[in-house]
Each structure stands twice: as C-alpha cells, then as structure tokens.
C-alpha cells in the first residue's frame, strides 16, 4: 500500500485502535529498545507480533509525561497501554505495550516507549 493511501486511512476516525496501530507501524515506527530487560525485544519482534494483537484490544490511556524524541513535541498527548497474549509452540507469553501516535494533528506514525515480556505470575511471586 502506498504511503499516501496509508496516511489517508490513518486519518479515518472510524479506524479501530488496533487497525490504527498496525497502519502507523507500517508508515513510521520510533522504537525505544529497553536492552536492560530480559529478553531484550527489538523493533523487529514488535513488528513480528503486531498481527497477533487481538482486534478488539482496548488500551488504557494516560497523560504523556515526556516530550523527548523526534516526535515528542508533535505527538499525541496521551499514551496508550495494553497487554496481549501470544501462544507459540504450546508456550503462552504475555507482552506489555506502551506508546503514542504522532503527529497529534495528522497521524503518520507511532512511538513505542515500552515493549516487554510480562514475567509469569509464578516467577514474580517466587522472587518476592
């Protein structure tokens, strides 16, 4: 799909959140790689999994605290956050996503501030 067509689609207010996210990732993705967290997940893993995010995902929203980054000042003022599950080779993994769309006046991409595997509850309780 050409970028002009994608930008036109991104402007559609009727788009579901996940449709908007998938399109925005294709147009332009800024990705903060948190290499201190294990496993360290790159933008490649995020792109690989974006189709696995359920279509009915409804994120929670919060005020964005930071204006850093190439689209920090032009991006939307709210950040989205959600978890989603992926099952692969009989192992279920949960992932956490946090980010914001840019630009606020005309969506043309997304910044992912955090993408990480959520440790299973068992290991969280064991480490307490």
């Amino acid at each position: 799909m050409g970028s002009d067509i994608m930008l036109e689609k991104l402007a559609d207010p009727a788009l579901l959140f996940i449709e908007r996210l998938r399109l925005a990732v294709e147009v332009e993705l800024d990705y903060w790689e948190d290499w201190r967290v294990s496993p360290n997940l790159t933008e490649h893993e995020f792109r690989s999994l974006v189709n696995h995010i359920p279509s009915d995902t409804a994120p929670t929203w919060a005020d964005r605290k930071s204006s850093a980054g190439p689209h920090g000042t032009t991006g939307e003022t709210k950040v989205f956050m959600f978890n989603f599950d992926v099952k692969l080779f009989s192992r279920r993994s949960r992932f956490f996503v946090k980010g914001y769309f840019f630009d606020a006046d005309r969506c043309r991409g997304v910044t992912i501030q955090s993408f990480r595997k959520v440790p299973p509850l068992r290991s969280v309780l064991r480490n307490r």
Binding site: E28, Y31, R36, E43, S48, N51, H52, P70, L88, Q113
Partner: protein, 198 residues
C-alpha cells in the same frame, strides 16, 4: 507496570549485536533507563548493514545446525522426490522461510499449525532420538526473522527451527482435509515459488 517515558535523552554511540558481528551507529539514549531509540534512520541503517553481511568466507556464521528424528528425515525425503533438482537443505531452508513469513506472523495460520501438536502424526514424527544433523545456511535478513521468532518463543534459533519443521512436516503428512487444504494453499504454493527461484 511502571515504565520510563524517556524524558531525558542525549545522542550517544549505539550498537547492536548480530550473529557475532556488531552494528555501530549514533542515536538517542535515555539517561534514566539506558533505552535506545531506533527511529526510521537507525532502523534503515541497521537493516542495510545486515543485508551486506553475507560474506562467503564467513558462511558458518549464518548457518543454523539442528537435528531431526529419523522419521522426520524420511518425510523430508518424500518432499525432495516431489521437487526434482532439490535437496533436503533447500527444502528445509524453504520450509523455514515459509514458517517465518507466512505462518508465525499470522495468528490464524499459526493456530492451524499449533493444533497439529495433538495429532498422532506429530507425536510419531517427534518420537525418538533427534540424530539426523542438518546445517542450513541463511541470508542474514532471514536470520533476523529466525532470531526474532526464536526470542519470542523463548528458544534458541536451532530449537525453533526443529519445532517449526516438525510441525510443517506433520501438516504435510496429515490426512485431515483442513490441513491438506492449508498445505496446498499456504505452504506448497510458496515452496514451489521459492525452489523455482533458488
């Protein structure tokens, strides 16, 4: 879950390891948590660097070694016979690429292949010692996909390949009409194209 929003950043040297080689560049780094920003420029520079890595002298670096059971190897032999001019390595490479690009990224296809795990065919193919050793060379850009999916699954790349191949071979053998149609429409078509282009 508390996460940093990267309010304080500065431009620094950044690097990324890939199969024993190191990509170096410059990018924004968060002063609070150390996170590195990969924007479109740094992503393009990294993938451009990876695409130029395929050095015939360093072939071993981009080769994945894994093991299959004897039964899985017999199944592989059957597929080789269907494609004159091909060999086991070519089929394995093609099946891996198909899994990485046409199965894993799509939940409905991944679920089809996952369901095979309950079948007797899969259990039979997986049973026994995995003694047949294979070494398959990949172009670096394919290895990025393999490394990614292996990380997502929490497995080393070689183990991921074994599991993906066993599943696809099971789909190939299965008599279930849905899986037969899936093999024909999703896997076989791509297998033919990849082997023709090889």
């Amino acid at each position: 879950m508390e996460t940093c929003e990267h309010s304080k950043t500065s431009k620094k040297a950044i690097s990324r390891e890939f199969f024993g080689k190191t990509f170096k560049g410059r990018g924004e780094v968060c002063s609070e948590c150390g996170a590195i920003l990969w924007d479109k420029n740094s992503q393009n520079a990294f993938y451009d660097w990876v695409s130029k890595l395929d050095d015939p002298k360093a072939r071993d670096k981009f080769t994945v070694q894994f093991f299959l059971t004897n039964k899985a190897t017999l199944c592989l032999d059957k597929i080789v016979k269907q494609f004159p001019g091909s060999d086991k390595t070519m089929i394995l490479r093609a099946l891996t690429v198909i899994y990485l690009t046409a199965v894993a990224p799509f939940p409905e296809f991944a679920a089809h292949v996952e369901n095979i795990m309950d079948s007797e065919v899969f259990k039979d193919l997986s049973r026994g010692a995995r003694e047949q050793r294979y070494k398959v060379h990949f172009k670096p850009l394919v290895l990025i996909d393999l490394q990614s999916w292996a990380k997502i699954a929490g497995l080393p790349p070689s183990k991921f390949m074994e599991e993906a191949i066993l599943r696809l071979l099971s789909v190939y053998i299965e008599n279930n009409p849905i899986l037969k149609e899936f093999w024909k429409s999703t896997i076989l078509l791509r297998l033919e194209l990849i082997l023709k282009a090889a």
